[in-house]
């Protein structure tokens, strides 16, 4: 019996070894007939709501559009190659995202890498892309901290605007022009919220606006009544809520319920999406948020929005990130075509020096030494938006074009914002 047992175990081991070997046998490379772009995205988990409304509608529209024209011309292969997306679900977990990013690079050997979703995820993904020499043009996410890291991340190109790049300075200019004297800041206790709180603390006092309240809230806070009551008691002219949809929406609902009507009500990521309008209807009138463009910005922008939102529900409209993501993909495509191959180093060099007319107008990346880059704030067509007559309008202040030449305010800022509509009888 002992011999039989040993035979059994040896056979078992042989089978295991053969199975393992079969994993490592290389297959011959097929002829190049497509460009494979890999992404680790939050298809499930808490970030799915942001990903589904932010970058997802862009790549789901942009890629078929490019492929309908034959794809991207690659001179190395002498033909147009269509883009094929390879998408994995990272469950909104950074650890899973880093693993899947390496799977895309090492195992799937994708030709190009597109971004994960969220600021923390950009921070986690950028060093990996850098390690393997893959260019990473980001979508959702951006932060002042990334500026400090950019010199050591030469393959990173950040496309989204953020606090001091160049949202809050514009907001401060608008508020100062309207005569706002005091502001109450509520921010989510994470990287994003802390950063905005810090930049509010620098930019608002520069314009003579005093911060009379600065309160952090945990991400899972559901009852905003104490915070809103405190803001109401402060008598601040402007209420600035910098969180994500999970904070901005309940803060808005509580403000309406308690009848808190400051002259300015600003909501961070969340208030710029179509689902904010569908959730609150006419109550959104006068609410301020971050926004880059709308259909009135330019004919090119109107064309983009018409194409992008055709057949899509209002919920996935995003007046902040969408134009920036679209422009970054256009620059990326132009750079890939110029390189004509999947050479990442050459792509990095071209991206660093390309200036292209996109939906934003002249667009380029501001490079940080020999490191990575941020989409130039001078390229932005807007920073601050306000819901006016059911549309999200881009608003500005007098003389803003001196700093931001592409800036196109599509309406005058409404100050004070209208009162919340009376509850239905």
């Amino acid at each position: 019996m002992r011999n039989k047992s040993i035979m059994f175990m040896v056979s078992l081991l042989l089978v295991l070894v053969l199975m393992a070997l079969s994993l490592f046998v290389a297959c011959p490379a097929p002829a190049k007939d497509k460009i494979v772009v890999g992404m680790s995205r939050p298809l499930s988990g808490p970030l799915a709501i942001i990903g589904d409304s932010a970058f997802r509608p862009i790549y789901e529209t942009w890629v078929p559009m490019v492929n309908a024209d034959g794809g991207i011309y690659m001179s190395k292969y002498g033909k147009y190659l269509p883009i094929e997306l390879k998408i994995y679900d990272d469950k909104s977990d950074v650890g899973t995202m880093t693993r899947l990013t390496e799977k895309l690079i090492l195992e799937d050997k994708v030709d190009f890498l597109w971004p994960a979703c969220g600021t923390s995820f950009v921070f986690g993904q950028a060093p990996i892309a850098n390690k393997y020499g893959y260019v990473l043009v980001t979508a959702e996410g951006g932060a002042t901290t990334i500026k400090e890291a950019l010199p050591s991340l030469p393959y990173l190109f950040v496309s989204l605007s953020f606090s001091d790049w160049y949202e809050v300075p514009v907001l401060a200019g608008i508020l100062a022009e309207q005569g706002v004297k005091t502001a109450y800041v509520v921010y989510i206790a994470d990287l994003h919220g802390i950063e905005y709180s810090g930049v509010f603390g620098i930019e608002l006092p520069k314009k003579g606006i005093q911060i009379v309240g600065n309160v952090s809230v945990p991400p899972d806070l559901k009852d905003f009544a104490p915070v809103i009551t405190d803001a109401m008691n402060s008598g601040a002219d402007a209420f600035l809520c910098e969180g994500y949809p999970d904070q901005v929406l309940p803060a808005m609902g509580t403000s309406i319920a308690l009848g808190y009507n400051p002259k300015v009500w600003l909501g961070g990521p969340g208030a710029n999406f179509g689902f904010f309008h569908t959730a609150f209807g006419p109550a959104v009138e006068g609410v301020t948020c971050w926004a880059v463009a709308n259909r009135k910005t330019s004919p090119a922008m109107k064309e983009m929005y018409d194409l992008l939102y055709e057949g899509k529900p209002e919920d996935v409209h995003d007046w902040w990130g969408h134009p920036l993501y679209w422009a970054s993909l256009d620059i990326w495509k132009a750079a890939v075509e110029k390189v004509g191959s999947t050479d990442q180093d050459a792509l990095r060099e071209v991206l660093a020096t390309t200036k292209l007319d996109t939906v934003l107008g002249p667009t380029w990346f501001t490079m940080f030494g020999d490191g990575g880059g941020l989409m130039a704030y001078e390229s932005h067509t807007g920073e601050v938006g306000q819901w006016i007559n059911g549309e999200l309008e881009v608003v500005g202040y007098t003389g803003i074009e001196e700093t931001l030449p592409n800036y196109k305010a599509t309406a005058d800022f409404v100050y004070p914002k209208p009162l919340w509509p009376a509850p239905a009888e």
Binding site: M1, R2, K4, S5, I6, F8, M9, L13, V17, A20, L23, F24, R41, L43, S44, I87, Y88, D89, D90, K91, D93, V94, G95, T96, T98, R99, L100, E102, K103, L106, E107, S120, F123, G124, P127, I128, K131, A143, T145, A149, A189, D190, L191, I194, E195, S216, P218, P219
Partner: protein
């Protein structure tokens, strides 16, 4: 059937098989692809969390949901000390800090039992996360930290080392008089105390011992994640997954949670990459089925089939 029965009666052969598997694992970077090394690293991480969780739960019956807390402490220890210390001392520091925290927390709370203890341990994850957040915001002014990037093969070697030490520790603990005493606590805590077992000391020490391995695993995995903030480090998924993996594999044998964690992690990987749009749906169904129909886990099911086969064989003979 004789063959299988023979195999189960041959501990030396099991040692030999374990050794061969270990050698195959240890030499993986020599013949495996780079991604295989990364994937196996992630699977071993889950195995460590599951086995160290089982090390405390299986004998005592105390259901802790503090895994994410100790894992997160390890992650943050590496984020803070990673640039000051060489890799191995930083990993050991991650384990030691978790050990000390578990010792303190265990001394205070292991008098609680049942659902009270479980709820407290779950609360501990949130407590540490928010304390750290408060500290980072108000004292250090840090908004997340970049972690020193390490070579994937080095990470694999270290996590494999942690796994080996954990398995040896668990094996020795199960076979020692302390293991017996722990099991007596699980059977009847009062009776164990009357028999002279220092119940509290033993519970607290084992709780802290399991936390050491969770912390060490967190410390080395932080170098793979490259960036951490309190939300990344103290993800409650890391509290629930080891429990599910242990249930999936079973807890009766030393190897049961390993099998549960390996299969569970592998299924997850396959679903995330092959069926990304349906990951949650399929995974949810698998979990429900496992919990409803595998009360003793996969290993329990296999043993049940084996024993059923044996009975039928005896009847026939």
């Amino acid at each position: 059937m004789d063959i299988i029965r023979g195999v189960f009666k041959m501990p030396r052969l099991w040692w030999l098989i374990s050794l061969i598997l270990l050698v195959l694992l240890a030499t993986l970077p020599l013949y495996g692809s780079a991604y295989t090394v990364i994937l196996i690293t992630a699977i071993i991480m889950y195995v460590i969390l599951t086995v160290s969780w089982t090390m405390f739960f299986a004998p005592t019956g105390y259901l802790s949901l503090a895994t994410a807390a100790f894992f997160g402490i390890g992650i943050y220890t590496m984020a803070i000390l990673g640039e000051q210390l060489p890799l191995l001392p930083a990993v050991i520091a991650g384990g030691l800090v978790s050990f000390v925290v578990a010792l303190i927390v265990g001394a205070i709370t292991l008098r609680l039992r049942g659902v009270y203890f479980t709820i407290f341990t779950f609360g501990l994850v949130e407590l540490i996360k928010h304390l750290l957040l408060f500290w980072e915001i108000n004292v250090t002014g840090t908004r997340g930290r970049f972690v020193v990037l390490e070579n994937n093969n080095t990470i694999f070697g270290v996590i494999l080392g942690i796994f080996v030490v954990l398995m040896l520790t668990y094996y020795l603990l199960r076979r020692s008089k302390y293991g017996l005493a722990l099991r007596s606590i699980g059977e009847n805590e009062e009776a164990a105390a009357h028999l002279g077992v220092n119940v509290n000391l033993l519970k607290v020490f084992t709780f802290a011992l399991s936390a050491f391995f969770m912390g060490a695993a967190g410390a080395i995995m932080a170098t793979r994640w490259t960036y951490v903030d309190p939300y990344v480090a103290f993800n409650v998924l890391h509290s629930f997954l080891p429990v599910l993996m242990a249930i999936f594999g079973g807890m009766s044998q030393l190897y049961s949670p390993i099998i549960g964690a390996v299969i569970f992690a592998y299924i997850e990987e396959q679903l995330l990459t092959r069926f990304p749009e349906y990951f949650m749906l399929i995974f949810g169904v698998i979990l429900v089925v496992a919990i409803l129909y595998l009360p003793n886990g996969l290993v329990g099911l296999v043993r049940k089939w084996w024993q059923k086969g044996l009975r039928e064989e005896n009847v026939n003979s």
